[in-house]
Structure formats: structure tokens, C-alpha cells
Symmetry: C2
């Protein structure tokens, strides 16, 4: 359809890079598929700013054409424990994490906002595919991590852009982790040589940026390493669960 | 479907308010339909910051439950004359404005980004409809001003949100100006008592915030007042076309 897609070497990807395990793996996947990557990190007022530092480490270590960190205050809208409304739940069992619908750590419309920003960059670049590390299985039931959401955004991306309307480039949205378990993601990352010790997943790290080991995100991550049979390189705070 | 929609008094709307003529009219329309409005203005690095001041005036004068101005640097992505890449075209004839595809003043994926932010607020409010002043006829051919784009976003909004997934509230996206001419919009505003002198449309105002009278936006606006037979309250710079 476009030179970028046919040409191989010129393929560009805007990769949403949070600094977590999933998005680092996605960046490595984009690279393994021959894309030149443009990493996009959004600093949206989340409690765990350590994520942004992790994103910088990962971008540098995996290699990107550019890394852009955008400030956007989603805190002002409220509605999520991740941006300061209410407490992050701790010490929930796997069953508790898996059930009970949408957790309080969900940030309203976050992935829609992130994908929109990625789309703006993809279009400004003259055409790029978008990679996002959403995951429908282990992601605690966030609505904007489901395949049908990604499909709806793919449709939107083609209607919303100049490059889509002119036929110059039909932006694809790729979510390579969508059907993987956390263990499968970790094994993929290991195969691709990603240093997962550089990534950050904890919702509530200590002042030194060390993981609490107790929030849902830590527990899913720990279980993922155990299930994958891969040593867990995470630095946990003293006394972490 | 929801208490908000059935109840009348409790209907909430997030209204994208740029400070231009169109969005001011949309805010008045939302009000006339019985909505309590939450106005959202995005300061995205546009050349014409006078728009933000206009948005504050309009929000105050029409009355809103809250007005939020969000900073978001779309300039960093490049790709539009409106955020500093290249010159804004001046003195184009009506035919030139109407033809020739997508103009250089198009900002990549702007309305997708704006609608996503509105969606985040709508969800954090526990449910609200979204109003946007896009216009397919007089809007110089921007892809993200077409009805099919709005329809795709409506679909996305229902899949992307917790309130959509739980059935608590199906966010509607209303674009009441989409099929109106500029003259019809101006007549609607006049009927609803909107003070259009408070609004700002110019892409390239002078330091005092006065309109140039020569950019596409000024020319469409002037022609709209003329066609509507409504006196033009715009303050033009000395020597404006």
C-alpha cells in the first residue's frame, strides 16, 4: 500500500513505551519485525514516575530513532487510584486480581488518549504503524485492553488522518501481546534479549523506585516470572511481599 | 439508558471549546438542550493563543459547571502550519479555500486527541455526552471533521470505557454543526444569544489579538456573517483584508 510498508528498511513504528515489562517487550518485537521505532512516553500524573525513568533506560538500551516524553495532566479529571484518587489495593490473591471487573487502578480512557497521541506522531512522520502493549488476559480487565477496542481504533485511525484519507498510508495498530499470558510475554522478552531488570511495573514503588511486591501489577509480574521459569531481576523494597 | 440521560436536569456534557465561533455555538446548543456543561480547552501549541482567552470569555459568559484548560504539546510532532511548520496561507479566494484537499493548517489527528481527552473527562464524571463543533462543509476538508469520523469515534467511545462496558452510560458524541454552513451556524448563534464578538477564529492574529482578515479562517468567518446577514462583530487589525 505504501512505500514504507513494502520497503522493509523504511518501515516506521510509533511504539507506546510506558517503561513497564509489556511495552519494553513490544519495542523489541517491533525491532525484530524490521521497524525503525519512535518511542512515545506519556507522563500523565501517575503515581509511579519511576516508569518514565525506566522508559528512558529501555529506549536507550533497545535503540530508537527518537524518544519523546509528553506531559499531559490526566490527574485533573480524577477517577483513578493510579493518579491519586483512593488507595492502590495490596496483597490481593490471584483470584481476587482476576475477578471483580474493572479495578480502581484503571485510568479513564487512558489507552484511547495514548493511541491518539501516537496517531498524531504517526501522521506527522508521514506514516507509521502503532505498537501498543495491551494484554487482554493478564491485564485485570481494563476495557481498553481488549481486541475489539484495538480493532475500533484501527478503523478510526484510517478515517481520522490525512494519510488515511488520501490513501498514502493506512496506519495499522499492532498489539502483539493481546492474547499472551504474562509468562509468554516474559519468555518472548527473554528470547529477544530484553533486559527486563530495566523495566518497572509497580503501582506503588518506594522513594528509591523499588517495587512493593504487593500491588496487582507486582503480583502479576512475579507470577509471570515464576510461571515462565525465568529468574526475576526486579529490585524489590525490603520487606516486599 | 442511564439516569443522566433520562433525568433531564442531570444531563452532563463535555464540550470541546476552542474559543472559536463554532465551539461557542456548540456550547450554547448543549445548554439549550438541557445539558450541564463541562468545557474543555486544549492549549496545544497553536500559534493563535488568543483562542484560549476567547474560550475563557465564552465559558464565563455562557455558564459552565467547570472549565478546564489542558496543556498538551502537539508542536513536538510537527506537521502543521498551525503549530509553527510553514506559513499560514493568506488571501485565498473562496474557490481556493474550498478546493485542493487538506490544507497545511491541518494539525495531525487533532480532533482524535481532543475527543479522547473529552472521553477521559466524560468517564471520570461517571458519564457525559461529548459535544464537538466539527463542520464538514465549511471546514476546508479536514479528515477529522467528517461524519464518518465522528461515527467511528462514537463506536470507539463505547468500547473504550468502563461505563460503556458495564452499560452504565453509553457516551454519545454530538456534532450538531456537522452539516451546517457557516451562515447557518452564525444564525443559530444569534438565535441562541451567543456574543460572537467574544470568539476568535483567526489563524494569525496580531499582538493585540486582532484578526488578520486574510487567513482561510477569517475569510470563511467574514463570508459567513455576510451570507447570514448578521453584523460582523470581529475586531480586525488595521489594514485587514
Amino acid at each position: 500500500m505504501s512505500e514504507g510498508k513494502a520497503g522493509g528498511a523504511a518501515k516506521r513504528a510509533v511504539v507506546l513505551l510506558s517503561g513497564g515489562l509489556d511495552s519494553a517487550t513490544v519495542l523489541a518485537i517491533a525491532k525484530s519485525r524490521g521497524y525503525t521505532s519512535y518511542a512515545l512516553t506519556v507522563r500523565y500524573g501517575q503515581r509511579h514516575a519511576s516508569e518514565v525513568e525506566a522508559a528512558r533506560r529501555v529506549a536507550k538500551s533497545l535503540g530508537v530513532a527518537a524518544h519523546r516524553v509528553i506531559d499531559l495532566d490526566l490527574k485533573g479529571f480524577g477517577g483513578s487510584a493510579l493518579v491519586g484518587d483512593g488507595d492502590v489495593p495490596l496483597d490481593r490473591s490471584d483470584d481476587e486480581i482476576g475477578e471483580g471487573g474493572i479495578p480502581v487502578t484503571y485510568v479513564p480512557a487512558r489507552n484511547t488518549v495514548f493511541l491518539s497521541l501516537a496517531l498524531a506522531w504517526a501522521e506527522a512522520l508521514g506514516g507509521a504503524d502503532i505498537f501498543i502493549g495491551v494484554n487482554a488476559l493478564d491485564y485485570s480487565g481494563y476495557p481498553d485492553c481488549r481486541p475489539e477496542f484495538i480493532e475500533a481504533f484501527r478503523t478510526l485511525a484510517r478515517l481520522a488522518t490525512k494519510i488515511g484519507v488520501t490513501g498514502e498510508y493506512a496506519v495499522d495498530v499492532q498489539a502483539p501481546l493481546v492474547a499472551m499470558t504474562k509468562a509468554e510475554i516474559i519468555r518472548t522478552a527473554a528470547t529477544l534479549g530484553v533486559d527486563l531488570g530495566q523495566t518497572h511495573s509497580c503501582y506503588q514503588p518506594d522513594d528509591a523506585g523499588r517495587a512493593c511486591g504487593r500491588c496487582d501489577s507486582c503480583r502479576l509480574r512475579k507470577k509471570g516470572f515464576a510461571d515462565a521459569g525465568v529468574p526475576d531481576p526486579t529490585t524489590y523494597a525490603p520487606g516486599a511481599g
